[in-house]
Each structure stands twice: as C-alpha cells, then as structure tokens.
Amino acid sequence: MAGQVDALYIYLLLVSGFMTALIFISVLLLAIKYRRSAGHEAKPIEGSTLLEITWSIIPLMVMMTFFVWGAVIYFQERTPPADATEVYVVAKQWMWKIEHMEGQREINELHVPTGQNIKLIMTSQDVIHSFYVPAFRLKQDVLPGRYTTLWFKATKPGRYHLFCAEYCGTQHSGMGGDIVVMEPQDYAQWMAGGPTLPLQDTGKQLFSTLGCATCHRFDVQGRGPNLLGIYNKPVLLEDGRTVIADENYVRESILNPTAKIVNGFKPVMPTFQGIVSEEQLNALVAYVKSLAQPPPGTAGLQNPPATSPAQPQNMQVQ
C-alpha cells in the first residue's frame, strides 16, 4: 500500500512541479521581456474566451486523474480483507493499549508478523486520538463511543514510528510508540512467551459471569436473539430496518440495547454502559465474532439463526 501512495505522490509532485515551473518561468520571461522602458507602450488586450475555457478544462481533467487515483487507494485502504487477523486497540489519554486475539497485551508497542493482513479495531476512552504510522502511509482517527478500523500488511521487518496525530492534550507528543515487524517465526516465538488467555476466552468467561448466557442461549430460543453466526450478517430490526451486525452494532447493542431491537424480541436487555470497561467490551465483541464459525464440538447444537432472510436495505425515516 505504501508503495502506491508514494507512486501517487511522485505523480502529483511531477504535475505540480511542471505547473509551478510553467508559471515561474513564464512570469520571469514576461517580466523581463516587457519591463517598462521609455517609449514602450502596453498593448491593450481584452482576453480570449477560448483560452479561458481551455485552461479551465485541462486543469480540471488533470485534477480528475488525481481524484480517481486517490479514491482508488482510499477505497482499498478502507476495505479490510476478510482473512485479516484482528488486534484491538484502546486509545487512552496519552497511551495506546493493544490486545492481540491470543490475549497478549501491550502498551505503546504492536508486534506483527510480516506478510500477514492485520486489522486494527480501535476505540478511545476519552478524546479523539489518531493512529498514525508514517512508514505505512496510514492514519485513522480513533473516536470515543464507536469503533474505527485500519488495516495494513507489513512487508519489511523493523521498528516503525507510531504517532498520535490528532491533538489530545498535554502529552499528545509523548503518545507515540513502535510497530515492531518481525519474521513469522520470531513472531510465533514472541507470541508463545506469555501464558495468557486468548481474548475470546476472556470474552466467553465474561459472557457467562455477566449473565448474557441466560438470555442469549444457543440450545433453545432464549429471551435474547441467538448470537451464533450473526457476525457480519444482516439483522432485521423491530422498525423494519436491516443493518449489518458489525463490531459497532455489537458494541452499541451492549451499551445501548434499545437503540436497535431485533425483530420479534422484547426490549428487556439492561444497558451495560459504565459496567463494562473498554477492554471487557473488546473481549465480548471478540467472543461474539468467534461465534460466527460454530465452535468445534457444538456443531450439532446450532439452531437456525433468529434472523429471517435478508430483506432489501431500506432506511426509513419515522
């Protein structure tokens, strides 16, 4: 990805350089050739509409090439591949807390293997921060109250700067860190280091201790919708809208259950705002996503997901 951004940048530099040179040289030559000298009168020239149109259309065409190439790169940057391994990032005033799916927790450091798609699911506990890795040419603001995602594939091992690019207070400049890119075998060896519980297992524990399992049952129809296999699938809501059950939907349903009530269910779920910390929330979301593929050994118990077949997407305004 970084290569494409650089290529686009060089293309832009060339075009801008050409334009600047064109203007500089023509101004210089005209200024010297037509400098004021005795007996040399200025010729009144009205202007020519044809010329005006040409130097409006041509720059517009050139700009359209900028737009298209830039939009294509942006489109790729905003569509994470399905097979990306996920890492949860929580931005807090002046530090980055990073949790891997396997449970490793890091502060201001992110270890990643080369050649693997990494998808960061980020949220902030307080103000707006921005996850910025100059080497990867990538940046994404991290907002409180919702998830924002960023994906990349590291190719060359090494340590790369991590900055916070959105002003966030006193230690805004101190909130940096490193992305440590390692060969896959070093990464596996690093990963095996700490005996920690994988994230989705912590989520599984929370799922039972917080009492979610009492309503969201897998075997029989509970008071809450069955969460097996709902991740990234369309969900029909009470008011007729259909939304994709992505991370933001799961997060919002935990913190603010009555916002989007699933069709055919009563709004009885209590809110967990203030009860569940950001890290626990990430663990729960990771667990719910792990339910997308039926966990080994409970394949038989899977009953049809509560959602009826997907309906055409319509955003009605009540």
């Binding site: 905003r78 569509t79 939304v243 994709i244 955003m315 009605q316 305004v317 009540q318």
Partner: protein, 99 residues
C-alpha cells in the same frame, strides 16, 4: 439604481385572510400528526411548515410584487446555503452505515 418602489401593501382584509390561513394550516399540521401515515408524517409536517413560511415571506414581508428582485434572490440564496449544509452533512451520516 433607485427607481421609486411603490409600496405593495394590500387592504387590511387581505392580511387577516392570510393570518386565518396560517392558523388553519397550523390546525391541519397538528391534526395530521395524529393520523398514522407511516413515513409520510414528517414529510407532510415539513411541507405544511414550508407553505406557512412561504406565505409569511411572500405577503407579510412584502417580497411578492416588490420591484426589487434582489430581495427575493437574497432569501433564496439564504435557504440554498442552508440546504447545502443539511444535505452534504447528511451525505456523511446516511452513508456511514454502508462502510
């Protein structure tokens, strides 16, 4: 630049009639709110409000028939730029759930 603008005031009865019209429209919009028209409720409410607003602008504020076209242009440009603010910020919020 400043040809005399004959004042476009109309007889008193006319303004009372417009006033009555506005009151009737208010009543209808309240009445319409109690009828379940599904997604059309807000559209009708806004439609009635716009009709009332245009009545006030055209007749009470003497924009109708005023010799100066500029006033009408100023009013239209005001609402046009407000519409830009509303539609373009909606362009962000409505498409946020797609990606």
């Amino acid at each position: 630049m400043s040809e005399p603008e004959e004042h476009t005031s109309r007889p008193q009865g006319f303004y009372l009639a417009i006033g009555m019209g506005l009151l009737v429209l208010t009543a209808t919009t309240v009445g319409a709110a109690f009828v379940n028209l599904g997604p059309f409720n807000p559209i009708i409410a806004l439609l009635i409000a716009t009709i009332k607003a245009t009545l006030v602008v055209l007749f009470f504020m003497h924009v109708k028939g005023a010799s100066e076209k500029l006033t009408a242009a100023v009013v239209v440009s005001g609402f046009f730029f407000l519409a830009i603010l509303l539609t373009l910020s909606l362009a962000d919020y409505l498409t946020r759930s797609w990606r």
